[in-house]
């Protein structure tokens, strides 16, 4: 099912420190394609959970519209929306067994008992929880409870599956396993799924599309690959990617970008007035080093490992940056080397507004 969100706004009655009403979601418009996995991503307080709660119907909207396919569901209560919801704490009914938990939505719908159990067992097999049908939630591990919660959300064949921080209560290893599980279950069931996360790695690893939010405003909505390769502004470039994108402060000149603290120029073309304060942002993999003559001079500080890769920490003028280097690179501290930037993964932003120039 396709989800269309038009000018969605949520204001809360509480006020911020300036006495203004808190705007949790501000005039957000987006369209989620059917059968895709969409991540609502952003730092805490960006309104992503508010978005999810408005999609489920738990929170009423202040203004704007939500459509499921062509049906306006803005004013429907949660029980009428046919969505499945998995909470961060799973919210399993503690007095019911796994089977009863999964059957609950069908019981409410008055599905006959035999059919109810058959459907619940089918879903339980899909999420690999069928061995534990007679256990109580408290007798399950976190990952198993998570699977039960997903099964309960899926058993009524919802049009939309919503997951609120589905992985944050799990330990690191299980988190990796479960996020692939979520991807698999989503693919198998084919249900349009929206999940909330503050972890950019989680979002980029499994989602088809990412909605990146900051302080209630959508910063970018695009395919997961594009959000990394083509960030809309400095905030997006900074939020997505690990290691964090390098940022060089400096000035735009007719021949290129001049970082602070050096007279050398990095050649880059953009439609900006000369003398504008800008930030050159470069992914670690877009920075290359050579001991020859080509590129801008930099001073080597240190070298360290991030698992299989090695990162070199260098200074260009007053700016510090990191780039990937060969594992057999011979480190000589304070050595002056040359740095070049690839075309891909290098962007120019306005220093103040974060607006992208190129």
């Amino acid at each position: 099912m396709k989800v269309t969100i038009k000018n969605l706004t949520k204001k809360f009655a509480s006020r911020d420190k300036n006495g203004e009403p808190v705007i949790a979601v501000n005039n957000l418009t987006a369209e989620f394609e059917s059968g895709k996995l969409i991540a609502l991503l952003g730092p805490s307080g960006c309104g992503k959970s508010t978005m999810l709660n408005m999609l489920s119907g738990i929170l009423p909207v202040t203004s704007g519209k939500i459509y499921f396919d062509d049906t306006d569901v803005t004013d429907l209560t949660p029980d009428k929306r046919e969505v499945g919801l998995v909470f961060q704490n799973y919210a399993l009914y503690p007095h019911m067994t796994v089977l009863q938990n999964i059957c609950f939505p069908l019981k409410i719908k008055k599905v006959p008992k035999d059919e109810r159990i058959a459907r619940a067992k089918k879903i339980a097999r899909m999420v690999h929880i069928d061995e534990y049908l007679n256990r109580l939630p408290k007798e399950l591990s976190g990952g198993q409870q998570q699977r039960v919660a997903i099964a309960r959300a899926l058993v009524k064949n919802p049009k939309l599956l919503l997951l609120d921080e589905p992985l944050s209560n799990l330990d690191a290893k299980l988190r990796l396993e479960m996020r692939e599980e979520i991807r698999r279950i989503q693919r198998e069931s084919g249900v349009t799924t929206v999940f909330v996360t503050h972890d950019q790695e989680e979002a980029t690893s499994i989602s088809d599309y990412i909605v990146l939010m900051k302080l209630g405003v959508m910063q970018q909505f695009s395919a997961t690959r594009d959000i990394y390769n083509n960030p809309a502004n400095l905030f997006v470039a900074d939020f997505i990617g690990n290691p964090t994108i390098n940022q060089l402060h400096g000035e735009y000149t007719s021949s290129g970008f001049k970082p602070d603290g050096t007279d050398e120029i990095i050649p880059i073309k953009a439609d900006v007035a000369e003398g504008t304060r800008t930030i050159l942002a470069a992914r670690a993999e877009s920075v290359t080093f050579n001991k020859g003559e080509n590129g801008i001079s930099a001073k080597v500080n240190d070298m360290y490992s991030s698992g299989k890769d090695w990162l070199l920490n260098i200074d260009i003028g007053n700016n510090n940056l990191r780039g990937y280097c060969d594992a057999d690179y011979e480190l000589i501290p304070e050595e002056i080397i040359k740095v070049q930037f690839k075309d891909k993964g290098v962007f120019l932003f306005d220093e103040k507004s974060g607006e992208r120039y190129c």
Binding site: G57, I58, D79, G84, F87, N89, Y93, M96, K156
Partner: protein
């Protein structure tokens, strides 16, 4: 073999003495009710009756309609408790889950009613019942006791401790507020509800002052009132009085034996929440 320490022995001896002191009056009541008049008054008292007899019970049932009293007590207790439970559950749900303007103020006002002593309400309740034309009916025994602010307060606090996500989860699963209450909240609150129900049933069963005020005829008496009347009918015949008392007390003791576990855990849980 497990070694038994001196401290443990002392503990058990003290507990045994305490237990005996608590239980002795009941045992003595039962023993006396089986004695003849002569033996009951004899000095020194005998432990076990020489000629155990059920005569006193037969007399009690003949002089006073204990079966009718018993029936009345059962009706009043069941209806009162059921109504109280129902109202308490709905009220606790309203004041914990539903949102409406003035909710907390209204609830504080209700809780402040607990400060009015029961004795002060008796007069107003009495005039109300008489004006409603319900004097000397079983309904008069039931109507004033179909809700309890105290139990509502306890249950509301328990409901508040149930996470919001469970409510939203049930709503998304398609449940209405009403279904959520009965399918999720009430089952989770079962231990608290059993405790509340038992305490309320005991209070109804033992209710004495109110029934003596609003009931006149023999037909509408409950057991405590009946027993009170029986003390006149039995006169100084102690053994008969003890038989009457046993009839009143034994059902409650049986109820307690069956539900002992729930009462104890429920009370200790409620106590911790304060």
């Amino acid at each position: 073999m497990k070694k038994i320490s001196a401290g443990r022995i002392i503990t058990y001896v003290l507990l045994a003495i305490g237990g005996f002191i608590m239980v002795f009056p009941f045992i003595w009541m039962l023993i006396s009710s089986l004695k003849t008049w002569a033996e009951c008054g004899s000095m020194p008292p005998t432990w076990w009756p020489h000629n155990p007899t059920l005569e006193n019970y037969i007399y009690a049932f003949k002089t006073a309609p204990f079966l009718k009293y018993f029936r009345n007590s059962v009706i009043v207790t069941i209806v009162c408790t059921a109504a109280t439970m129902f109202n308490t559950i709905l009220c606790a749900f309203t004041f914990s889950r539903l949102k409406f303007p003035g909710r907390d103020i209204i609830f504080s006002l209700m809780v402040s009613l607990m400060m009015i002593p029961y004795e002060m309400l008796i007069i107003t309740n009495y005039t109300t019942i008489v004006k409603m034309g319900l004097y000397d009916t079983l309904v008069a025994l039931i109507i004033p006791f179909t809700s309890s602010i105290f139990y509502t307060y306890i249950l509301r606090n328990f409901f508040l401790s149930i996470p919001d996500s469970l409510y939203y989860s049930a709503r998304v699963d398609g449940a209405s507020d009403w279904q959520y209450l009965w399918e999720v909240m009430v089952p989770i609150a079962k231990p608290s509800l059993v405790t509340i129900g038992l305490l309320d049933a005991l209070a109804c069963w033992n209710s004495f002052m109110w029934s003596i005020l609003v009931v006149g005829s023999v037909d509408n008496r409950t057991l405590p009132f009946g027993l009170f009347a029986f003390t006149d009918q039995a006169g100084v015949r102690f053994e008969r009085l003890m038989a009457g008392s046993s009839i009143v007390v034994i059902p409650v003791i049986i109820l307690f034996l069956f539900c002992r576990k729930q009462i104890v855990t429920g009370v200790s849980k409620g106590g911790m929440k304060g």
